[in-house]
Amino acid sequence: MPANRFNGQTDYGVGIGLRVPHYSHILSRKPTVDWFEIISENFMVDGGRPLELLDKILEQYRVVQHGVSMYFGSADKPDREHLRRLKALVKRTKTPWLSDHLCWGSVDGTYTHDLLPMPYTFGAARRTAEKIRQIRDFLEVPICVENVSSYAEFHVSEMTEWEFLSEVVELADCGILLDVNNIYVSSKNHGFNPYDYVNNVPHKRVGQMHVAGHTKFEKYILDTHDHPVLDPVWKLYAHATRTCGVTATLLEWDDKIPSFDEVHNEALKANEFIDGAKKAFV
């Protein structure tokens, strides 16, 4: 689904995350990049250098906002100050859509600053969907929710993760940011088939995809974003693009960040799979 109502009817290609070590390269060399994803929270400030840099980026590049602290799954009501700042940033960036995670992370106003996994229950799906609707109505921009990588599951879960994601996005009538690496990481940590996940989410709602690197440990896999994308993830991504359609794709590289060119070249590998998917559709 190259362009749909969940990504603002755009047909963005392959982008990368805007990260501090690359700022000077980007501003001085002005490399050709289809789009940048920013972490909203890094720019929800009142002034100073972050906003100056963002404005310079916005003069030349398309930017999409990605959040890490909305916590759609937390029982807390949306924080009005948070929403006010986020909306101001949405107006500044003119992001065609906005994404955040299907997770929880705050309780009674105390923040863990983590993306904690949810119990996959129908009740949680209803509450989460209602919160997403409220937030979307306030922000007036399409929302895509991202599946997180997780390391624990709850006894009370009543369905699989992909069933839960599907239930939430259908109830909220919102999009999906399908993080292929997160699916792979969770599949190894929880012992499910990642292709079942991709095959069973509502494909028409996928507005964006993420790919990233991860780290294998003896008993689990951690979502570290500090490596190139591993082959099994690219294969899953190839399957996802064939299944869901060619979709705006973003490489996340957040730790041990190499040169801009290395990150960008890694991201552009996605084009090989995109071309394959396009041929498959023809």
């Binding site: 995350g17 990260r19 501090v20 700022y23 972490i39 929270e41 890094n42 929800m44 400030v45 009142d46 002034g47 100073g48 250098r49 972050p50 906003l51 100056e52 890490v68 602290s69 924080d79 948070h82 705050s106 309780v107 106003g109 105390t110 923040y111 863990t112 600053h113 983590d114 993306l115 904690l116 997180v148 990588s149 390391y151 624990a152 599951e153 709850f154 006894h155 009370v156 940590n189 929880h190 012992g191 008993k219 689990y220 951690l222 979502d223 570290t224 974003h225 500090d226 996340e252 957040d254 730790d255 041990k256």
Partner: protein, 289 residues
């Protein structure tokens, strides 16, 4: 239940506490709500989140407070960080605000940093001022012609919200110059662990001797600076921030200060853009009557 478990302090060996708050074995408690898999027990799975929480927040404090690490040394800093996070967990969606209450916490809990409580509090205050200077609000700058039109007895000026005026007992500014601040831009991203955290170690630095110091932490062209102030200059700026008229502020400098000196200070502050238009967010007057 999970939130309480995640927020609970780790053991000295960086593991999850073996007992729950009611004394039951944590393995049993974790098994009540977390499913095990063929490689990890419920306890081990929950422990991953417990560890990631503490490591992430310790890193965030360390990143924002290199001076405090250098002054207190690793063990004391870690004790302080843990106590702070336990008793003042984050109440903001952004880690940017994590250390906003640290100075006060240090003063309220002197035992954690004794005998260096005052120094520690002043460093925490200075480092928070740097965060404010980095990305705090800036208001429209008041221009000189406007000042000339209003008599000093009626003129009130605001100070930019990103400028923090500090009256210190220690030369914290000079101390922090020695402790090189690592990085300058906050970068939160997803829930990925930070592998650099283990490698980041701030060396303990020689502590400064007490010496009354007046300083403004600010930014210029979006770069962080701190500027030493003459005590009389500090009094003028404080009086302006408190809402006094220009006449009263200048009077606060004291009779020994020469008008030429005051003019020179104002020329510098104007050039730095410190005076702002009405509506200063930090609550002090910035109005032209």
């Amino acid at each position: 239940m999970m939130a309480a478990a995640v927020l609970r302090p780790l053991t000295a060996e960086d593991g999850m506490q073996p007992k729950w708050i009611d004394g039951r074995p944590m393995e049993k408690v974790a098994a009540e709500f977390i499913s095990p898999n063929d490689r990890l027990s419920s306890f081990e799975r929950l422990q991953l989140y417990n560890r990631m929480y503490w490591f992430r927040l310790f890193d965030a404090i360390r990143d924002d407070c290199p001076g405090l690490v250098a002054a207190l040394g690793e063990p004391v800093f870690m004790r302080l960080s843990q106590a702070y996070l336990e008793r003042r967990p984050s109440r903001s969606f952004t880690l940017r605000n994590l250390c906003s209450r640290l100075e006060r916490f240090i003063l309220e809990n002197p035992g954690l940093t004794a005998p260096r409580t005052v120094l520690a509090a002043e460093i925490a205050r200075f480092e928070w001022a740097q965060t404010v200077a980095f990305d705090g609000e800036s208001r429209p700058v008041v221009v000189a012609p406007l000042l000339a039109q209003t008599p000093p007895s009626r003129l009130r000026l605001g100070i930019q919200p990103y400028v923090t005026l500090l009256a210190l007992q220690y030369p914290v500014d000079a101390f922090l110059v020695r402790v090189k601040r690592r990085g300058s831009l906050r970068s939160e991203a997803s829930n990925t662990p930070d592998s650099d955290a283990v490698r980041r170690r701030v060396r303990r630095a020689a502590l400064p001797r007490a010496s009354r110091t007046f300083v403004a932490v600010h930014r210029h062209h979006n770069r962080l600076f701190h500027k030493r102030l003459d005590p009389a200059a500090f009094r003028i700026l404080e009086a302006l921030r408190a809402g006094g008229t220009l006449s009263r502020a200048i009077a606060a400098a004291g009779p020994a200060v020469k008008p030429r000196q005051v003019r020179s200070w104002f020329k510098t502050w104007m050039a730095l853009g410190w005076f702002c238009a009405p509506g200063n967010k930090r609550g002090r007057a910035a109005s032209l009557l």
